[in-house]
Symmetry: C2
Subunit: 528 residues, 2 copies
């Protein structure tokens, strides 16, 4: 997959397309230099062509066997590995993410893709339910009713800038949509269009190798918002997955809901991921907390949606001690290049806004070249937070605000004041957990994931994971965008009433030929 093959075109059902003369280039955020080649911005005709192909292949794809879809996913995973260093090099050039991080992210991407292959092969994910009929029931016969999840139709995927492999063109949204049997049209992220095209080619090759119609995958380039909104507005689009800013996610959400037939938008948008440090935790392990906090905050130049942007620390000597340790660790944090100039600008503006807020003191700001982001820690108190609610808005990057609290009530007050979050974290001794039921209850209503004595970055890809949460963390708190349950976003239940056994999908047939877990007359069983 030589970089030379990057053509700067749309990939519409495996065909290159460049009907729009308007182009843009990617920039190497590390050097500020533009990267070849120029990319053609998709136009309305190309949007329509991609969505029409997706629509035309949807019925066929939704009725393919799980084995076929598993093979598609495995071919994508293989292709990502086969692309080797050249893919990582282009990705590094476009994102400035360190090579070891990209190697790790590729491993996660490949692993989650293979995990979905295994999951759909096993088959229980369809949530098959069977209620047997009873022709003799009075006053009316009881019908035979059976249901299972089916694919929802063509999905439009907007990848994240901060995970160019794991949450982009071959990321978890595309993988779960394919697993569910949904065609995918990806809008390439304009900050890493070359990486997107290389991965797009890998997927197109995998589609071909699996003998599937080329129309189940397209990739459109574009720097403007127009391409994205045109995709969301297209009548063939059935659902949208997005990872990015609140403004971006909300704009797509609004577009989707203005449609004549609104469609679901799964937007994972933003979070400040508050961390509440109880006194016992400081007594037990202040140094560990300070070190792990700065590690979590500055990892990947702070460019994680689960980055801890707010940390509550008690007033008094114990808290002072923790803050000194945090300052010492922060001073040692290396500055870093951010994903692109836009993110760096927004970070600088956010830091400037915090520094100008009355009642906020700067604790620590490391020094570095002006084109890099420096770890910034501010300190304030609950009274200021009460007044300056903008302190509870996300600043994407290595910046966090310490909030000193006087008592448990102030912690509860903050927990109640924050908006919906992906995560919240508690640090304390086991016995302290019992002492703060109101805090825990309040946080439960605000977050998707509650962490004890850890930090929110580093999301385990497992069945129980919830990478989601109330608005504005996401636009739909019912779902997770990471882990096996993410597939539910791209499915809906379909019910068959009184269908002859032979004409039911195998998942719903009496003999249970797939040996999947089903709910039969209200009881979970793998029996036939």
């Amino acid at each position: 997959m030589p970089t030379a093959r990057i053509q700067g075109k749309q990939l519409i059902g495996a065909e290159g397309s460049a009907t729009n003369a308007k182009t843009f280039v990617a920039t190497n955020p590390g050097t500020g230099t533009p990267l070849d080649p120029p990319f053609h911005e998709a136009n309305g005709e190309e949007v329509d062509r991609a969505m029409t192909l997706a629509s035309e292949s949807a019925e066929f794809f939704s009725n393919t066997s799980y084995e076929t879809r598993a093979k598609l996913l495995e071919a994508i995973a293989d292709g990502l590995m086969d692309a080797g260093q050249e893919l990582l090099d282009r990705c590094h050039a476009e994102t400035a993410l360190p090579m070891n991080r990209l190697v790790g992210e590729r491993a996660r991407t490949v692993n989650q893709t293979r995990m979905f292959a295994e999951m759909i092969r096993e088959g229980s994910w369809v949530e098959a339910k069977i209620d047997h009929g009873d022709a003799d029931r009075t006053p009316a016969p009881k019908p035979d009713v059976r249901s299972m999840l089916i694919s929802i139709g063509p999905v439009v995927v907007f990848g994240a800038s901060n995970f160019p492999l794991a949450i982009s063109v071959a990321g978890t949204d595309t993988t779960t949509a394919f697993a569910a049997g949904c065609p995918v049209v990806c809008k390439a992220h304009p900050a890493h269009p070359g990486t997107c095209e290389m991965i797009g080619n890998i997927i197109a090759d995998a589609v071909k190798a699996t003998g599937l119609p080329a129309g189940i995958f397209s990739l459109l380039q574009g720097q403007s918002h127009e391409v994205g909104h045109a995709l969301v507005e297209h009548p063939a689009t059935a659902a949208v997955a997005f990872t990015g800013s609140i403004a971006g996610g909300r704009a797509l959400f609004d577009t989707a809901n203005r449609r004549r037939n609104p469609i679901p938008v799964y937007a994972e948008m933003g979070s400040i991921n508050p961390v509440f440090v109880l006194p016992g935790a400081i007594e037990e392990r202040a140094e560990q907390i300070a070190q792990a906090f700065i590690g979590s905050l500055t990892m990947g130049v702070g460019q994680f949606c689960t980055n801890p942007g707010l940390i509550l620390i008690p007033s008094g000597e114990q808290g002072d001690r923790l803050i000194q340790l945090i300052a010492a660790n922060a001073a040692a944090a290396a500055p870093g290049t951010m994903l692109h100039a836009g993110i760096h600008d927004a970070f600088n503006k956010g830091v400037a806004r915090i520094k100008e807020t009355s009642g906020v003191q700067l604790l620590s700001q490391t020094e570095g070249p002006s084109d890099q982001a420096c770890c910034t820690i501010a300190v304030t108190d609950v009274a200021t937070l009460r007044r300056e609610r903008s302190l509870m808005e996300e600043i994407f990057g290595p910046c966090s605000t310490i909030v000193r609290y006087e008592n448990a009530d102030e912690m509860v007050e903050v927990a109640q004041a924050i908006e919906g979050q992906l995560t919240a974290t508690l640090h304390g001794s086991d016995s302290e957990l019992s002492e703060h039921p109101s805090l825990i209850r309040s946080l439960e209503t605000k977050v998707g994931r509650l962490i004890f004595n850890g930090f929110p970055t580093g999301i385990e890809v497992c069945h129980a994971m919830v990478h989601g949460g109330p608005y504005p963390a996401t636009s739909d708190a019912h779902f997770t965008s990471i882990g096996p349950a993410a597939i539910k976003r791209f499915t809906r239940p379909l019910c068959f009433q009184d269908f002859p056994n032979d004409h039911l999908p195998p998942e719903l047939q009496d003999a249970n030929p797939r040996c999947i877990m089903r709910m039969v007359n209200g009881v979970y069983t793998r029996e036939s």
Copy 2:
């Protein structure tokens, strides 16, 4: 529960409230006479008071035991039965629904309420998932991750006019929200406000008897749209359930999505529930089909959301025979009083529109008094349907359009042209099912429930039931509003990472003290 107790006030946390001088009265649709007493329209202060009480009781209620919630539901079920004939009489006076229908609907309401009590007692509905940690994993330790469904917060319920017991104040939306641990604020349907108040009192009494805070239930009256929209806009509202027209549901959906923090709206709106009759079915049982079709169409004066509004019948002699039989059955259908004057007006307008449509012939229209709705059957062909898309819009009431088709392609064309539906039905021989894969595939993409050789009215309350479907049948095709799975609407997953076992909810503790079905490391089990 004497009717004399109907006070025409809001019921806000068990207290009567009537701060707005504006009133309205219910009308007996059978006699056209107004019914005592006048009902005070809720105002903004009352909306705020009800939602604030709901919000204040939400945390407590969401943390009550399943046993407590089950007892609440059982007390409601008991109360509905104890209210006896007086409740049914008032309901009959406000809806003109026949007494035997109301007795049956009450039984369904009580049964579904008890079913939810049993379901939450059993406990597996929380979908507990546990992934064990591994401190020794490299390169990073694996956290212990556990998740389960929790309640979403205060729910606003808009009941249906056509099910004053089963889908109204103590209907499936309220019951499932209570089961999930969500406070409920009901907007009473203005066509049966007295029934709503009587049932509201039953619920308030049940809340009190169960020792729960009064704030978990309020009932607001109102004829204008303002009360409803104010409820949807209120910051404390977490979700909305609605059953009614597309225009009404869409308006609430739009209001909810214009909020700073959008909230889910589960609107079950409308359907024409197309029925496709294949030639073999006519050969096998033409008389049965004709009789069952007219029965389904005219039951409850056609006022069901699953009413068959479009029936495809082959051209040619066989089809002619079926149509003659339908006409004969339709001629014998008694006219009936509709739920209220507004519905009757809309029905008359819909029938007039069909009759005026060029290419449509009237097959049968029974005669009756002008204040009653008469069974109306029109006939047209696919070419006309192609041109006159309004023929595919729902007319609520006993009116259906027969569409003659020439061949299988025309059936597929209609299946592809219809919007999202609650149901579609196929009548055919077993072997014919194999001959129409495209038709079945197309219908699968359009409906929530696919019925073979039956009729869509009469919804079985069971695990596998899907009373839902793509827009505009509902506003969210992920969910059903009938059956145990309806509870999912009012829940969302919450994940605990590395929490000490003692501090986890019982559902997620190692010992599995509730003996519920859980997914542990990807495997379903009831073991500890």
